[in-house]
C-alpha cells in the first residue's frame, strides 16, 4: 500500500489536462530530480469543447507559476483583459438596465453595503458607489498600461481567451519547458486492479500505459471517473434549468473596434447570452432551457442579439448537463474539468475550478498509495463545498429577477431554490451579507460578491445605517479622485492589446 506515486497519467488534453499537467510539473521541477514522470495522453480525434473563454484573476498567478509569459498569452491566444461581468436586463422585462460584478476589491472591504446605504440619497448604483472599475470598463479602458509589468495591474483583472489556442500554448510549454510527456493516442480500454484502482490503460496501438495516479480530463465523457469507476453525476438541472448552448463567433466590423473589457451577459426569454471580446473576434452564445424555448426560437433570439453579422456566423449546439460528480477523487483517479461536472458559465467558474483542483493536488501531491484515501476525502469535501456554493451563487442571479417569462418565474419557485440560499435570503432582508454567513472554509465567492449581485439587482436590506457620515464623505472623495486619475492614466483597451501584440510587456 505504500507504493510511491512516481507516474502521473493525465487522460485528455484540453485546457483541463494541460493546466493540470502544467501546475503539477511546475511545482516539481525538475521532474527527474523528484523521480516523477507526468504523461498526458490525448486522442488525436476528439476536438476540445472550446467554451470557458473567461478566466478569473487567479489565472494570472496560475500562469506565472507555470512559467508562461503574459505577452505570449496575449499574442498566441488572442487574449484580452477582463475586469468583471456586466449583467444586462436581468432585473426586469420593461426597462434597459444593467449592473456590474467587478473584479477590483471595493474601496471599503469592511462595510461596502453600509457605505452605499449611507449614500442612498444619490442615484449611484452599488458597483459605481464602491469602485471606479465599472465606469472605466464602460469607457473602454484597460486595467493596466504598456509600462506595467507582466501579470501586474493597476486594476484587478482576468482574461478572455481563445480556449483552443490556450490549450496549444499550454501544451507547448508543458512539453518543451516542463518535461511533460505527450502521447497522441486513443485509449482503447481502462483496466483496474483488485482493490479497484486503475492499473493501466491499453491504447489503440496496443501499448500498455501504467500509472500510479490517473487524472481524468476527458471532458463530458468521463472515461475514467464515469465509464470505468461508475461514479454518478449529481444533477443540478432542477436548480439551474439551462441544458443547451448555442455558441458562435463573430468578427469585428472594424479592426479598431472597441474590445469590451467585461463579460457581457444579457438576459433572454429562457436563459442568457454571453458576449466575450477577444482581440480578433467575439465569442457569443445563448445558454437556454430547452423546456422553455425551442432550438429554432433560441436561434432567432441569438440572431436578434448579434444583428446583421449573424448571417456569417456558424453556430454550434452544445448539450449541457448541469451537475457534478458524487465524488471527484476515487481510489487513484481524480476528475478535473468537465469530467468533474459542468455548470452554466454565468460566473466563468469552469477554468477557476480546474486551477483550484489542480493546485490542491500539486501542492500536496500524494506521496504514495497509502495516503491517497485520506487526501481524496479532503479533496472531495473541499470540491463539493465549492460546487454547492457555485450552484447557490448562480441561482442567486435568477432568484432576484423580476422577469415574467415562464423560465424566470419557475426559477423563483421555492422548490427550485436550495434551502441554504432561501435561509440566507431571509437573513439578508435585515442584515447585509458578511463573512459570518459563510463557513470558514475558503470560499470561491466572497460575501462581497454576494453584495454585488444582491444590490445590483435591487434587493432590499432593511438595516440600520452604521457608516459614519464623515467616513463616507472621505471614502467618496477617495473614490472620485482615483476615478479622475485613472481616466487619464489608463489606455484604451484595444490600443493596449494591439500594443502588447506589437511590443510585448516587460517581465519586471
Amino acid at each position: 500500500m505504500t507504493n510511491p506515486v512516481n507516474h502521473i497519467v493525465i487522460v485528455g488534453g484540453g485546457t483541463a489536462g494541460w493546466l493540470t499537467a502544467g501546475l503539477i510539473a511546475s511545482k516539481n521541477q525538475p521532474l527527474d530530480a523528484s523521480d516523477l514522470k507526468i504523461t498526458l495522453i490525448e486522442s488525436p480525434d476528439i476536438p476540445t469543447i472550446g467554451v470557458g473563454e473567461g478566466t478569473w484573476p487567479s489565472m494570472r498567478r496560475t500562469l506565472r507559476e507555470i512559467g508562461i509569459r503574459e505577452t505570449d498569452l496575449i499574442r498566441d491566444c488572442h487574449a484580452a483583459f477582463k475586469q468583471g461581468s456586466q449583467f444586462i436586463n436581468w432585473c426586469s422585462d420593461n426597462r434597459q438596465e444593467h449592473y456590474f460584478h467587478p473584479f477590483n476589491p471595493p474601496i471599503t472591504t469592511s462595510d461596502p453595503f453600509e457605505f452605499w446605504q449611507r449614500q442612498s440619497g444619490s442615484t449611484q448604483s452599488f458597483a459605481d458607489c464602491l469602485d471606479a472599475q465599472p465606469t472605466l470598463c464602460e469607457a473602454g479602458l484597460a486595467p493596466k498600461t504598456i509600462t506595467t509589468a507582466e501579470y501586474a495591474g493597476t486594476l484587478n483583472y482576468g482574461y478572455h481567451l481563445d480556449a483552443g489556442a490556450f490549450s496549444t500554448l499550454l501544451q507547448k510549454h508543458c512539453c518543451n519547458a516542463l518535461g511533460v510527456r505527450h502521447h497522441l493516442q486513443n485509449v482503447q480500454s481502462v483496466h483496474r486492479a483488485e482493490n479497484g484502482d486503475i492499473s493501466h490503460l491499453i491504447t489503440a496501438d496496443g501499448q500498455t500505459l501504467q500509472g500510479d495516479l490517473f487524472i481524468d480530463c476527458t471532458g463530458f465523457r468521463g472515461l475514467l471517473i464515469g465509464e470505468s469507476l461508475q461514479v454518478p453525476l449529481i444533477p443540478q438541472g432542477h436548480i439551474l434549468f439551462a441544458d443547451r448552448a448555442l455558441a458562435g463567433q463573430v468578427t469585428y466590423d472594424q479592426p479598431d473596434q472597441i474590445i469590451a473589457c467585461q463579460t457581457r451577459s444579457t438576459a433572454q426569454s429562457a436563459g442568457w447570452i454571453w458576449d466575450i471580446g477577444l482581440s480578433h473576434r467575439r465569442g457569443i452564445g445563448y445558454v437556454y432551457s430547452s423546456n422553455h424555448i425551442s432550438d429554432e426560437a433560441a436561434e432567432r433570439e441569438l440572431a436578434n442579439y448579434i444583428g446583421p453579422g449573424f448571417g456569417n456566423t456558424s453556430v454550434r449546439r452544445i448539450n449541457i448537463n448541469s451537475g457534478y460528480r458524487k465524488k471527484f477523487w476515487v481510489n487513484n483517479c481524480i476528475a478535473i474539468g468537465l469530467s468533474a461536472g459542468f455548470l452554466e458559465p454565468l460566473e466563468a467558474s469552469a477554468l477557476m475550478l480546474i486551477e483550484q483542483s489542480a493546485n490542491m493536488i500539486a501542492e500536496r501531491l500524494p506521496a504514495n498509495r497509502m495516503v491517497m484515501d485520506r487526501l481524496a476525502e479532503q479533496f472531495n469535501q473541499r470540491q463539493h463545498h465549492h460546487w454547492e456554493r457555485i450552484v447557490e451563487f448562480l441561482k442567486l442571479h435568477y432568484v432576484l429577477s423580476n422577469r415574467q417569462a415562464p423560465f424566470w418565474q419557475e426559477n423563483r419557485e421555492v422548490s427550485s431554490i436550495p434551502e441554504s440560499l432561501s435561509e440566507k435570503l431571509q437573513l439578508w432582508e435585515y442584515h447585509a451579507p458578511t463573512a459570518q454567513d459563510f463557513s470558514a472554509e475558503s470560499d470561491v465567492f466572497s460575501w462581497i460578491s454576494y453584495q454585488y449581485i444582491l444590490y445590483g439587482m435591487g434587493f432590499k436590506t432593511e438595516a440600520r445605517p452604521t457608516c459614519a457620515a464623515d467616513r463616507c464623505a472621505k471614502l467618496s472623495q477617495l473614490r472620485d479622485r482615483r476615478l479622475e486619475q485613472l481616466l487619464t492614466q489608463l489606455p484604451n483597451h484595444r490600443q493596449l492589446v494591439d500594443k502588447i501584440r506589437q511590443y510585448g510587456l516587460q517581465t519586471v
Binding site: 498600461t145 504598456i146 509589468a149 500594443k499 510585448g504 510587456l505 516587460q506 519586471v508
Partner: protein, 247 residues
C-alpha cells in the same frame, strides 16, 4: 516638429545657430543614452533605465533632475557636467524615417527647431555652390556613428532584459519640510542577480563590451548625491537626503 530627411531638403540657405550650451535641454529630466557613452556619462550623473511610455520597452537614460521637467545639470549658460549626452548634442539633427513607408532610417533635421535659421548669421549647411559644408559632413558622420551606436544599445538592452538584470527602484527625496517625494518607474541593474552569473555569461558580457557599462551604471547611483547638492543650490526648498528604495 518637422522632421525632414537631409537628402530631401529643397532649400540650401539653411544655417544652424544658438546651439552653444544646448539650451533646448533646459527642462529635460531624462535623456536617452547610447551604450558607448554610459561609462563617460556615469562620471557626471545617474545612469538608469526606464520604460518608454509608448512602447513599454526599456531605454537607458541619464537622470538630470529630481522633479518633472527639471534639468539640474544645465544651469544657463553652462553645464555642470564634463560630458553631454549625444542625444542632446545632435539637436536639431536626428535619425528619422527617410522613405514614405517609414521603414528606412537616415539623417534628418527638425526644421521647426529654434536652432534652424535661414539668416546668414549661423553655420551654413551648404556652400554657395550648393555643396555640403564641412560642418554638414561632420554632422552626417556623427549621425551615422550614432545610428550604429543605437543599434548596439538596443542589443545591450535586449541582453540585460533577457538576463533578467533589471530591477525596479524608486528614488525617495526627503525635504527639510513636508512629505517625501518619490520618483517611481525607475530601474537599475540587479547586483545580486549579476553576482549569480557563471563565468561563461560574464565572459560573454565582457566580449560584447557590456560589462563595463553595466558596472558603470551601477556605480553611477552615487551621483544622486550630486543631483541633491545641485537641487539645493538651484531650488528654493532643501532636500535632506535622496535615497534609493528597492521595490
Amino acid at each position: 516638429m518637422n522632421i525632414t530627411p537631409l537628402e530631401q531638403l529643397n532649400t540650401t540657405d539653411l544655417a544652424i545657430s544658438g546651439t552653444q550650451g544646448h539650451p533646448h535641454a533646459k527642462s529635460r529630466q531624462l535623456i536617452n543614452l547610447v551604450v558607448t557613452e554610459i561609462a563617460q556619462i556615469s562620471l557626471d550623473m545617474p545612469v538608469i533605465f526606464v520604460k518608454d511610455g509608448n512602447t513599454g520597452q526599456f531605454r537607458c537614460v541619464a537622470l538630470l533632475g529630481l522633479e518633472q521637467n527639471q534639468n539640474l545639470m544645465f544651469n544657463q549658460p553652462r553645464w555642470h557636467s564634463h560630458s553631454i549626452p549625444k542625444h542632446i548634442q545632435r539637436e536639431p539633427f536626428c535619425i528619422g524615417p527617410i522613405d514614405q513607408q517609414r521603414n528606412t532610417l537616415g539623417p534628418c533635421i527638425d526644421l521647426d527647431s529654434d536652432y534652424v535659421t535661414t539668416q546668414s548669421e549661423g553655420t551654413a549647411l551648404f556652400t554657395e555652390l550648393r555643396e555640403k559644408t564641412e560642418f554638414l559632413k561632420r554632422v552626417e558622420e556623427f549621425l551615422a556613428t550614432l545610428f550604429e551606436e543605437e543599434r548596439l544599445t538596443q542589443e545591450f538592452i535586449n541582453t540585460i532584459v533577457e538576463l533578467g538584470l533589471l530591477r525596479e527602484i524608486s528614488v525617495e527625496c526627503q525635504p527639510q519640510q513636508g512629505d517625501n517625494r518619490s520618483l517611481s518607474g525607475l530601474f537599475i541593474i540587479d547586483e545580486e542577480r549579476l553576482r549569480q552569473f557563471d563565468a561563461d555569461t560574464v565572459k560573454r558580457l565582457m566580449d560584447q563590451g557590456f560589462l563595463n557599462p553595466i558596472f558603470a551604471s551601477l556605480n553611477s547611483l552615487g551621483q544622486l548625491n550630486r543631483l541633491t547638492a545641485l537641487f539645493n543650490q538651484q531650488s528654493e526648498s532643501t532636500l535632506v537626503q535622496t535615497t534609493v528604495q528597492l521595490k
